[in-house]
């Protein structure tokens, strides 16, 4: 089919859009039982044996409403070992640090040993999406959902101008264009509105900074998803619990870097302890002006940006950011939706 006319694919809502997936997941309710049954290995083996068994047709990862969502993490029985890894108490808080559901101002008084933060140096972000995929791989994030994402946009316009650098048969132009890359994730706020609203105290802030969710307690009501002004939480369509960036807490507790920092190609993401004045994050914040997203709402974000345009810090609206395209977050913009609308 040389011509790109595939009306079947142009169904509304087929775009892999975070919110769309959330919507689907929620409308699907509890039909996901078998979603993970086709471990990738299992399917591979079916083909290896030369069988085209009926189960070897998962039918793709981007599903229309009403079909099973494919779980792209490694839900592999080989990993279900009783080696002690799969213990949420240990994963979330092995040192049994104090946790807070409110009264966050008391954290300082408790004199925690560390205050973990992330500095995003936009002078180095190349917009490559490595952090996005690393997070998905490290944390088994279902397809269509993200704990972190990177908005990539072209900002500007082409202006006809005598004497412009661009000379064509039609005339001269100036191409006022800039590419902007803005990684986004949970801000691990010092005053997190998502935590206080939780009706069952499933979500909490650990004394050393990370805002976490205990999936054993979460009832999946979505209140915290609603309360986050940064759209940094989602309901996991597999477990039906609220999910979000953990700063890879199990990694930092093991003395390692979060996955997104480990793999940041431009070294734009810097992780460290704000209580250590020699740490790279402290040094960066001491030497360069930094901003946070939406400072005006008083959430006290602990993800700091160097080189963030002030307007972009606040605006959530892709149109006002003049984002021409982005791989992920902006798929909910009117412009993007129009791009993906069915063919007339």
């Amino acid at each position: 089919m040389a011509e790109n006319e595939r009306p079947a694919q142009e169904k509304e809502g087929r775009t892999p859009d975070r919110r769309g997936f959330l919507k689907k997941a929620l409308t699907l309710g509890g039909v996901l039982g078998a979603a993970g049954a086709f471990g990738a290995l299992g399917i591979g083996k079916a083909l290896a044996a030369g069988r085209a068994g009926e189960e070897s047709q998962p039918g793709g990862m981007l599903q229309a409403d009403g079909e099973a969502l494919t779980w792209q993490g490694y839900a592999d029985p080989n990993l279900n070992k009783g080696d002690g890894w799969q213990d949420w108490s240990r994963l979330l808080n092995p040192a049994k640090l104090p946790i807070y559901h409110d009264n966050f101002a008391q954290i300082k008084a408790a004199r925690p040993k560390h205050h973990w933060v992330l500095v995003v140096d936009l002078r180095k972000c190349t917009g490559c999406q490595s952090c996005v995929v690393a997070c998905k791989s490290e944390n088994n994030i279902p397809v269509g959902n993200y704990r972190t994402w990177v908005d990539v946009g072209q900002v500007g316009k082409t202006v006809a101008a005598a004497g412009g650098d661009v000379v064509t048969d039609e005339g001269s132009y100036v191409q006022e264009v800039k590419v902007r890359n803005i990684p986004k994730l949970c801000n691990h706020c010092d005053n997190p509105p998502c935590v206080t609203v939780c009706p069952v105290k499933a979500t909490f802030k650990r004394a050393d900074g990370p805002v976490l969710v205990d999936p054993r307690l979460c009832i999946g009501c979505g209140t915290c998803v609603n309360a986050c002004p940064y759209d940094a939480r989602y309901l996991n369509p597999i477990s039906h619990t609220a999910d979000k960036c953990t700063l890879c807490v199990e990694r930092i507790d093991a003395g390692l870097l979060p996955a997104c920092v480990t793999t940041c190609v431009g070294r734009a993401r810097v992780f460290g302890d704000l209580l250590d004045p020699k740490s790279e994050v402290s040094q960066l914040l001491a030497h360069y002006p930094a901003e946070v997203r939406k400072p005006e709402i008083g959430t006290k974000p602990q993800v700091f940006y160097i080189g963030l345009n002030g307007e972009l810090a606040t605006a959530d609206n892709p149109a006002s950011q003049r984002l021409i395209y982005t791989y992920t977050m902006n798929t909910n913009s009117t412009a993007y939706q129009k791009l993906n609308s069915p063919r007339k």
Binding site: M1, A2, E3, N4, R14, T15, G29, G33, A35, G36, G44, L47, G50, R51, A52, M61, T70, G73, D121, R123, T126, G127, C128, V133, A134, N140, I141, Q154, V155, K157, T158, V166, V167, T168, E170, S172, Q175, V177, K178, V179, N181, V200, R216, C218, G220, I238, R251, A254, G255, L256, T263, V265, A268, D316, N317, Y325, Y327, N332, L339, N340
Partner: protein
Amino acid sequence: MSDTLNMQRRTFLKGVALGGSLLGGLWGSMPWLPDVVKQRGQYVYPQRVESWPGVDVRYSVCRQCRSDCGLEARVFNNVLLKLDGNPYHPNSTEPQLPYATDPQEAVRVKIPHSICARGQAGAQTLYDPYRVLQPLKRIGPRGSGKFKTISWEQLIEETVNGGLLFKDVPGEEKRRVEGFAQLWNQGRGRFTPADPAHPDMGPQTNELVMYWGRAEVGQNTFIQRFATAFGSVNALPHVGICELNHHVATQQSLNGAVAMLKPDIANSEFIIWFGAGIYTANFPMQALARKIAAASSKGLKFVLVDVSATAGVAHADRFITVKPGGDGALAMGMVRWILENHRYDSRFLMNTTLKAAQAQGEPNYANAAYLVISDPSHPKAHKFARAADVGLAAAGSADADKYVVVDAGGQAAVFDTVAQGLLWPQGDLEVKPVTVGGVSCLTAMQILYQTAQEHTLADYAKLAGVSTQVITELAREFTSHGKKAVADFYRGPAMHTNGFYNGRSIMTLNFLIGNIDWAGGYMAGGGTADFMGAKPTSPFHLGKWPNQPKGVPNGVKISREGAFYEKTTYYKELKNEGRSPFPAKRPWYPFGFGIWHEIFGGIWDAYPYPAKIVYQHMGNPAYSAPPGMGGADDEKLPWFRMIKDLDKVPLFITDDIVLSETSMYADYIVPDSTFLEAWGALPGFPTTPTSVIGIRQPIVDPLMAKTKDGRPMCFETYYIDVAEKLGMPGFGKNAFMDGGSLHRREDFYLRMIANVAYDAGTYLQLDSLGQPAKMGPVPDATAAEMQSVARWQKQFGSVLTPAQWRKVAYVMARGGRFEDYGLAYLGDKPGWLTHRYGSAKNLLQIYNEGVGSTHNAISGEIFHGTGIALPQRTLKGRLLDEIDSSKEFNFHLTTYKLPIHTQSRTINDPWLLELLAQNYIELNDADAKRLGIADGDWIRVASASYPRGITGKVRSLPGVRPGVVTFTNSFGHWHYGSGSWQVDGQTLQGDDSRNGGVRLNPLMRLDPDMQDASGWGTCLEDPVGGGASYFDTKVKISKV
């Protein structure tokens, strides 16, 4: 607007909260029953961390693109958990860990050790549910998608012995297929000319044509070994559709061998990148991006010259769009301005030898002052004058062949008798020839200036599509940083019909400021280990094997690359008959290599001989070009016509990891390893100033089925079994010079790694005085480090001696061999790089006599020896602008890359696919406005060679140059584990989400001079480099 969006989110969440809270309430009432959650979906745990007991950290090398970054794989219970970068590998980590670092420390490092999004998603390439894991045989017509699984034994038997292999396929009942055995003919095929009338074309074993899309070092040497032992010269890479003209322009500007230089980004002050795809692709994508981001945040100024904005614009100081193919005009305009304003380094350029250069503190020298015979009637016209040509030495004397310069006193002199030669023997910027010994000559510099004078600055600006100011500003800035400025380029300027010259012109800019081998300048990068073991200190000479006859293989490659037409019997016959040897039947490319379109053109025209067996390794030409010859599910396109022609391609075997657009047409499919199941030894790129080689190893047990004796089914095992059945040398028993046998792929690759470990000549370390000194073989592994080879020793213990294993383990425990970071800038003189292009007496060629005296085999024109700005032309030299009128075809089609994909083979990774489900046809915002096209509109794009056109959705971007229509690669698949196919009578339905978006390659112009009566033809090509033209097609667009 923001509120509306939030409202939407909140409103639906409210609704959800209602419906969901019923369910949620149910679950919430039983939070003490986590099993309920488990049953609802697989439990969401993070992956086990590196230091968790039972997690094995294994180092290997990525192949999601060609950057070959070091990998750190976390494996648990033989399942790949996560991929990261190898902290010892300089692609992934900067500064990388000192090589001596204990691997147990490396596992716990608190420094970033990255790989890109593509690399991260490599796990999904391994675990693609649509992997081909058993041999398949076609049971319907080619392209029908009907296969059956066959046994390994049947695969070997049928492809070796041939016969009525497809007698059950309608129309092929009586087609007798020749297998390897018929070409081999008990070894005699290697000595039987394919065409007795033209024995210089080589033997009938050349009728085995092997090519690949991707096979790096290690695997490509394995393919070459098979082809060489079989007696075929045809083991050919894909460079012609990649960036070939960049490599050829670089080689022919340098010593003919070094194919790439890169800026020393960390120390440079000003860099111009012409069409180089930084932050998205290039070599190695992530090291380049990381170094540029770091340097530009500390003050590096850089300019991007391209036809549409790529990711690098994020940090660029200036972004300039040029007319596609206008890069050479921009560069030659700069050359002219630099010469006329005396902003070139004449002190450097006048040096005649390395010795003279070094006396002035320069690490290399150029041929700027050498005299070229400019009299067109002279029998050696366009060649450098030699001493004997101009009476400076007697023929046959020691000096006879030496170059000639004009010394400071205006006297002609043998080049190595004087330290400096005049650039302008007739006066400053004077291009009048000088007569030496009665022969009219010009210096290389004079020819360059004469060429630069072909256009005024205003004309160059017009040809490049920029204002004159752009040229002068860039030229001034470029010449304002001493040797700490670089003009680098990649695929953008190169893949045009004028691509070679665009590249030559850009290379010349660097020569004019003499920046090669300098910190902050243009660098050749570190060395690499002698992995093939050619040196006597290496334990295994893998390029040689017992019983290989001398002179096998021989002849000309089917793509006619690496061969001068002027030296063939074809040329001589016509000459002798007094006829014009031009045009040849198809072009000849003495300077190019890996020219896919000419492999296919050669197969179609059976020129210089027919193909009998076509073997493809890891390639996908049906999808990924050559331009205009494939790229859509349209069997009228030339590649499909070729592959469906059973006479032209009697037997087509591929190896593959999934059913791709191409393997859908295969007669036999050999299941192959993904890079996470394969071996290899991967050298570094010039981006890294220190010596590098990464070792690829299978990081999990291969998923492919196994042979009866337990070997994984993959292309190497296939070659081995074919070779053993035929009794070819170099395989089976007594396959190595040490007498060992080659029955398992590891017999070969473990020897290769031993060569790396024992390399004694390349790697440097600091001696006790702090001076760089040769390192010699690596140390012996500790007992803990021996763990890195435990699983290989268990299976292949006898391949190496215990002493060799200890060395190999030291390398494997670190994922390769890497020179320490601090050794980069320890050249003999301040400012010199440690590893230098000039060290081996290499010179820089302002003028190249080999190019300057060779013919375009189609048009008969003689190529030009310096850089030059030329318009886009056909192989016969006709102007494309005059063939496709600009009035009708008023847009220019180009392509670009995203950082999340690699050509044809990453669309099967859901983590990448979900980032962008489809691509768009992209236009400049002002153009879109002018044409009344809104984002999301459907348009049709059509070209003269594909008038039916292709439709797709538009989005407008301010970064696309006005008059350009572009799209990103990697989308528009129709079969890559997608679509449907049949195996053993059952229909398999793939994942059609892989088919999103649009691919405009079929629109790309076929060369009208190379189309036959049936309309079959090859793409536009660069007549010098041989690379395909991707960016010269003029198109028209219309709303649908």
